[in-house]
Structure formats: structure tokens, C-alpha cells
């Protein structure tokens, strides 16, 4: 962080001590004034809710005695709750399969667009990115209708084949169906992250590679992929966060497949339904804290591994 920050203003460095202190004091006040509005709102909508959930997760409404401190009891109960683990297992599975596919596709698209072998590469870039601008609700409704038995493409294909071959809402397929929607929404966003990182590779590297007689594949493995490492780490972290907080897609699809998608399909749906269907606010806050901690730890580990590879 400090390596990229600007050098101290010259006036501060050359001024006598008393003046330096005064200038520094003024600068300090002014810097804070720029940051203060953000900080005030940040405290209200980030820090306060986190603190409040920690508080909620340590208390419980009891029939006798009302709201009482229960220590780790909410956590122990959650850890013994099969519904929580079922949802957790599901998003973990989702994470392990959907994220590599999505990032792999995004990487292929970014390398292809950067390769200069495509006609109209600008068109490819914007069209592949376009789904990111589509609201999750509309994306899910659209795909939900396409999947649907009534008037969707799945129904058209099944009619044509004369049998129920494509059943996106079947128990075995629902996670694949959701994975497809999420991939469709975010592959272009990740492509753009990778593509932006590819664009800033210094041309000299390519010229050197050309002099050394490296082929296109060698350029990809020797120059492009190493240069993408930071972008890949960031995209992976964002995707992990996205998978663990999976909510919109299954929750909206629930209208179309109510028997398959349970109220505890993902941890976030569980937290939501505990709160708004069951009024179990303390249990809900506990789910939120546990998922937040797990996400943060995994994101941290990915980041550590990513930067360790860079040092090699």
C-alpha cells in the first residue's frame, strides 16, 4: 500500500518543524474531511449491522426471562443443524464446479478477444459482457421461462423429441440449471477483468517473445497467464463470495419449482427464511456470522496462495 502512495508534499519536507507540524495538522484535517462522509455511512450500514449480528447471535428470546445471554449456544445449535449443513454442502459443491467452469470460459473468451485473431473483437467483448447488465431477477425469470414445461424452449425440445429428455427443474438437475444462470450472468464480467489485465501487458514482452521464436501457446503460458495471476485471484475471491451468498437465483426459481428448492436450499435462503418466515432472528444472525467468517477465511487463504505463487 505504502509503496504506491504519493511522496510527501515538498513543502512539508523542507519547512521548519513548527510549520511542518501545522501543515501536517491541516493536511490531516482536510484528508479526513474527504473521507468522513463515507466513513459515517460506512459505520451505519457496515460496522453497526456486523456488531448487531454478533450481539444477536449471542442472545436468545426465551419463554422464561425474555432476551437472555446464551453464550455460544446459538452457534452450537447451528453446528448440529442438518438443514444448515445441507445448504452449506450445496453451495460448496456449486462453488467447486460452477466457479472453475465460469472462470475457465471467461479466460478463454478474454484470451481469444486479446489474441487479435478474431474479426470484430469489440463486438464479441460487448456482447459477452452484456448479460452482466441484466438484473438477476430478469435473468432468472427469463431462464426460468426457457427451462419451463409450459412454454419454454425445454418444452419445445421435449415435444419435438416426444419424451421428457430435458428437465431443468428435476431434483438432479436444478443445481446445474442454477449454475447455468449464474455462469450466463457473470462470465462476461470476469472476462472483462481478465481482458483489462491482458491489455496492460507491456508490448516489449511480446516483441521479446517474438525474437525468441515463441509460438502463440508459449506466449499464453509464458507471458499472458503469469500476468493474469492477480486478476485470477481477484475473480476467484469474488466468485467464492458470490457462491456462498447464493440467494437470488434459487429464491426466484422457487416460484417455478417449489417442491425441489427448499427454504434452506442455501445458507442465505436459510437465514432469510429463519428471519422472515420464522421470526428466529438470533438463529438467522448466527447463520450470517458463520457464513461471513467462513467466506472471509477462504478469501484470505486464496489471496495468500495467489500471492505466494507470485513470489516464486
Amino acid at each position: 500500500m505504502t509503496t504506491t502512495s504519493p511522496p510527501a508534499p515538498a513543502a512539508v519536507v523542507t519547512a521548519p518543524p513548527s510549520r511542518r507540524a501545522r501543515v501536517r495538522g491541516r493536511s490531516e484535517w482536510k484528508g479526513l474531511a474527504f473521507v468522513a462522509p463515507f466513513l459515517v455511512v460506512f459505520l451505519l450500514v457496515f460496522i453497526a449491522p456486523v456488531a448487531y449480528s454478533v450481539y444477536l447471535s449471542l442472545f436468545r428470546e426465551q419463554l422464561i426471562g425474555g432476551n437472555a445471554f446464551v453464550g455460544a449456544e446459538n452457534y452450537l445449535e447451528l453446528f448440529a443443524d442438518p438443514q444448515f449443513w445441507e445448504g452449506f454442502g450445496r453451495v460448496t459443491l456449486f462453488l467447486l464446479i460452477q466457479v472453475p467452469i465460469m472462470l475457465g470460459l471467461a479466460l478463454v473468451a478474454a484470451l481469444a478477444i486479446d489474441s487479435a485473431r478474431l474479426h470484430a473483437s469489440g463486438f464479441f467483448r460487448i456482447v459477452i459482457f452484456l448479460p452482466y447488465a441484466v438484473p438477476a431477477v430478469v435473468a432468472v425469470l427469463m431462464w426460468g421461462f426457457i427451462y419451463g414445461d409450459n412454454f419454454g424452449l425445454a418444452a419445445n425440445i421435449n415435444d419435438w423429441l416426444g419424451s421428457e429428455v430435458i428437465t431443468p427443474f428435476a431434483r438432479n438437475w436444478i443445481l446445474v440449471s442454477i449454475g447455468n444462470i449464474v455462469t450466463w450472468e457473470f462470465v462476461g464480467y470476469n472476462m472483462l477483468i481478465f481482458y483489462s489485465a491482458l491489455r496492460v501487458i507491456p508490448t516489449d514482452l511480446y516483441e521479446a517473445a517474438e525474437l525468441d521464436g515463441a509460438g502463440p501457446m508459449r506466449v499464453i503460458t509464458g507471458i499472458k497467464l503469469p500476468a493474469l495471476r492477480g486478476a485470477i485471484v481477484i475473480a476467484t475471491i469474488f466468485s467464492i463470495i458470490g457462491s456462498f451468498q447464493l440467494f437470488n437465483e434459487p429464491n426466484i426459481l422457487r416460484t417455478l419449482a417449489p417442491n425441489i428448492i427448499t427454504t434452506y436450499f442455501t445458507p442465505n435462503m436459510y437465514a432469510y427464511n429463519l428471519s422472515f418466515a420464522g421470526q428466529q432472528y438470533n438463529a438467522s444472525a448466527t447463520v450470517a456470522i458463520v457464513m461471513g467468517v467462513i467466506t472471509a477465511v477462504i478469501a484470505y487463504v486464496v489471496q495468500l496462495r495467489g500471492s505466494r505463487k507470485e513470489e516464486r
Binding site: 504506491t4 513543502a11 449480528s53 470460459l105 485473431r117 478474431l118 438484473p135 483489462s196 489471496q303
Partner: protein, 316 residues
């Protein structure tokens, strides 16, 4: 979290770049095409066309089916038009259904986007600039906390925020949507990395020598230099607020304050249940009307946000 990655990547890049330029003796400007100058390939382009199809088929489905009547939806092939072309009737019906509630939702969405995304961009710009261009105590701590916040799932905060806001009496008001939208940690990060390079400290020094106040300098000079970064952050916050679903879903129970996303889903849910009243044609047409403004904004402003994004990614 990204800050710790950034300097290493940069250092590594520079080292490689220096080695390469030492070998060549010169540093040529960045050329648009790969220096290996491959020939454009039709076969490769067609292969990549699969990606385009994947991205566009659902959108094409939406456009095509917005032209059908409800019964036409069931009787015709999904990816081709029906005999009746009723797009304009559908649009009219969508806009006038239940005394024009769709327009009300559209207005609500605009309100949340203008105040929420506009405010988020302003706060992120001021703070990112402050962190990049001033040194003060607690600066590193602020930065670490804000970056950590990027990793906190937004939905994990939603339930506690709801409980807090309901105690403050803010639920079921526009404030419940606007206030949480005002914070964009990623926006702050983007402006921070952008400001470090694009606003030269010498210019700020010169302005100070001339006696200009810091805020005047910010609005007259720095703001302009930061413009591509600001547009990028604005577009991403606009998308985030335009597409916001979870937060309004839990904060609002009164349909008159719904944004389009929650309203559309309510229309869709109307098709099931005891007193089912399916209006699939309106859900589809409404979906199309919902994505049009945001798609147009993205296409129209792509020159700006793409330059801002690649500048931001220099550090990534």
C-alpha cells in the same frame, strides 16, 4: 485484500518490462494488436460465435416473446414469432396494469438509482481521493477495513440491517433502500488506485501555492482528471442499484415503494397459489422494459467505462 496483491504484481511487471526493454534497447508504445501479428481467422471467429449465441439467445427469447399474447406463448415455438404481433398492446398493458403500478416502480427505481448510485459514487470518489492524496493518522486502518468489507457478503448484512432499520423506523421507506446503497467499497478501491496515478501531486501543490482551497481544487481540477474512473464507478453502482433485489425484498412490504425487480417477481409469483392470476405476457414485456435503459446506458457509455476499468486494473 487486493492492496497486498497490487504492488507485487506491479513490481513483477516492471521487472519483466525492464528486462525486455534492456534487451531491445527501446520501449515502444503499446500497439493495439499482438506483436506476433497473427492473421484474423474466420474459423476461430465462428467458434467464438458460440459465446455470442449463449449470451444473446435468452435475450432474443425475451424480445421475441414480448410480442406474443399469453395464449400465443403456449402455442408457438419459443424462438420464433407467433402470428399475432402484440408487442405494443403488451407494452400498453404493462404500463397501465393496476393503475400504472409499473410506472410507479420505474419511478422508484430511478429514485433509488439517482440518489443511491449517485451518492455512492460521490462518497467513494471523495474518500478514495482523500485516501490517495492526503496522509493522515488512521489512513491505513481505514483502507484495511474498507477492503475487508469487500469480502463481506452483502446479503449476510441484509438481515441485521433490516432489524436495525426496523428499530429506527426506516423500513418501508425509500431510505431503507437508499442508505445501504450509498456505500461501495469496490468503488472506493477503484478511485483510490485511479487517483494515485491520474492526479499528479505537483498539480495539487501548485494549486495550494496559488492559495486555492482543497475542496475547490478537488471540484475544479482533480474531479476532471478522475472523470473516467468516476464514470466507471458510477456505471457499476448504477447496475448494482438498478438490479438490487434482496435488500428491497426484505425492507419493503408496501408495493408502492417497490423497485422494478421486486415488482416483476411479484407479478410472476401471481401465477401460482390459490387465486392464481397468471400475467406471463406482462412479466415478459416488463422484463424487457426493465433491461432496456440499463443496456442502452452500458452500450452508450462503453468508451468511458472501459478506459476506467483498464486503468483500475493496472494495479490488479
Amino acid at each position: 485484500m487486493s492492496a497486498t496483491i497490487a504492488p507485487e504484481v506491479r513490481a513483477a511487471d516492471h521487472k519483466r518490462a525492464d528486462a525486455a526493454s534492456a534487451r531491445r534497447g527501446t520501449r515502444g508504445p503499446r500497439r493495439r494488436n499482438s506483436p506476433l501479428r497473427p492473421r484474423k481467422s474466420v474459423a476461430f471467429t465462428l467458434l467464438m460465435g458460440i459465446f455470442v449465441l449463449y449470451s444473446l439467445v435468452p435475450l432474443a427469447w425475451l424480445v421475441i416473446n414480448a410480442t406474443k399474447t399469453q395464449s400465443g406463448l403456449f402455442s408457438s415455438f419459443g424462438l420464433w414469432f407467433d402470428d399475432d404481433f402484440v408487442l405494443f398492446q403488451n407494452i400498453w398493458e404493462t404500463l397501465t396494469y393496476r393503475d400504472g403500478i409499473f410506472l410507479r416502480w420505474f419511478g422508484n427505481t430511478l429514485l433509488y438509482v439517482v440518489v443511491g448510485a449517485g451518492g455512492a459514487t460521490l462518497l467513494a470518489t471523495l474518500a478514495g481521493y482523500g485516501l490517495a492524496k492526503f496522509r493522515f493518522r488512521g489512513r491505513r486502518a481505514i483502507f484495511a477495513v474498507v477492503l475487508g468489507a469487500i469480502a463481506v457478503p452483502g446479503t449476510a448484512l441484509a438481515v441485521p440491517t433490516f432489524l436495525m432499520f426496523s428499530q429506527l423506523g426506516l423500513t418501508n421507506t425509500p431510505w431503507a433502500i437508499i442508505i445501504p446503497s450509498l456505500i461501495s467499497p469496490f468503488g472506493l478501491y477503484l478511485i483510490w488506485v485511479y487517483a494515485v496515478d491520474s492526479v499528479p501531486t505537483e498539480i495539487l501543490e501548485a494549486a495550494r501555492m496559488d492559495g486555492a482551497g482543497e475542496f475547490r481544487t478537488f471540484f475544479t481540477i482533480s474531479g476532471r482528471l478522475l472523470a473516467p474512473g468516476i464514470v466507471t464507478v458510477l456505471l457499476f453502482t448504477v447496475v448494482a442499484t438498478w438490479n438490487n433485489y434482496f435488500l428491497p425484498l426484505i425492507m419493503l412490504s408496501d408495493p408502492t415503494w417497490y423497485p422494478l425487480t421486486v415488482g416483476l417477481n411479484q407479478w410472476n409469483a401471481q401465477a401460482t397459489g390459490v387465486a392464481a392470476q397468471p400475467i406471463y405476457n406482462l412479466v415478459i414485456t416488463g422484463s424487457l422494459l426493465t433491461i432496456l435503459p440499463i443496456v442502452i446506458a452500458f452500450l452508450g457509455l462503453q468508451r468511458f467505462w472501459q478506459s476506467g476499468l483498464s486503468a483500475g486494473s493496472v494495479k490488479q
